[in-house]
Subunit: 168 residues, 2 copies
């Protein structure tokens, strides 16, 4: 999107915060802003790897989730809960995946309100290939050291738990 900046804009923001008497919260502000930016970078990498497969991250996540379900199928509301996104986002993703013949919608056997999302054979194959690509090109080269990875998992796990993501 652009060439590297001469200075870290987030560090600058932190200095600005301190300069304006908000020193107390300057560091958390910087950390949070860094998380936002890191997410943006990671998402771009992931989308870049998935593009050749005709997938976006949202669709890939759903595909991967289904591929781990014992039966290869999940109710939409279950998928929404596990992916932690709004139900309408799942509807959107399923619409597109279904058009691509990677999943199929089927009625729930006992609950007429519920719709099951089912992986097709092509969907399962594509999920596997996409996962391999992501593992090789993104997760396997994250750039984070092993210790930092462990630390991130712990710190962000605590944060997510405190935010009400899960009980455990």
């Amino acid at each position: 999107m652009g060439s590297p900046l001469p200075r870290d804009p987030i560090a600058d923001a932190q200095r600005n915060w301190e300069r304006h008497g908000w020193g107390e919260v300057a560091a958390p502000m910087a950390a949070i802003t860094a998380i936002m930016r890191t997410q943006q970078i990671l998402l771009a990498r992931i989308e870049g790897v998935l593009k050749p497969f005709g997938l976006t991250f949202a669709r890939y996540e759903l595909l991967a989730l289904l591929s781990f379900a014992r039966s290869g199928a999940l109710p939409m509301n279950k998928a929404s809960a596990l992916l932690q996104v709004h139900p309408t986002s799942v509807t959107n993703a399923v619409d597109r995946l279904e058009k691509a013949a990677l999943v199929v919608r089927s009625p729930h056997p006992t609950d007429g309100r519920t719709t099951l999302i089912e992986l097709t054979a092509e969907g399962r194959t594509l999920a596997k290939r996409a996962t391999t690509a992501l593992n090789n090109e993104v997760f396997g080269q994250s750039g984070f050291g092993d210790d930092d990875v462990e630390h991130l998992i712990r710190v962000l796990g605590d944060f997510r738990k405190a935010a009400g993501d899960f009980t455990d």
Copy 2:
């Protein structure tokens, strides 16, 4: 969006990765997924605080950036570079901020290609009020410990630098 899950879905994903022979990259995958989810949570909190001000995070960031510029004005391309977003995203944000009379577009004095974004008095006031709210309600209660904040700033800073965000 939903009640807490009984188990951490990211930890489950990590176990699934290991179970499928991708143990080498399971941890980075979990860390990256956690970053994505954490960003989602933080963004929701921030947007919640900004909503009463009629602002979104994208618009607030631009407003805050301008409020720190010495002259209260910046060329659009400069803003795009500093915020690390696509130029069209800045166009979009400026359109809306201008409709709200928080900024004004003005021609660059010497370069006819460039457009300056200028903070209005209301824009400056609103930026200040919104910043106070964010500091009190989000950054001041991030939930991250001081040590974790320092660690995040360092680790994510290294990551962003390696990703080519800045030279420094």
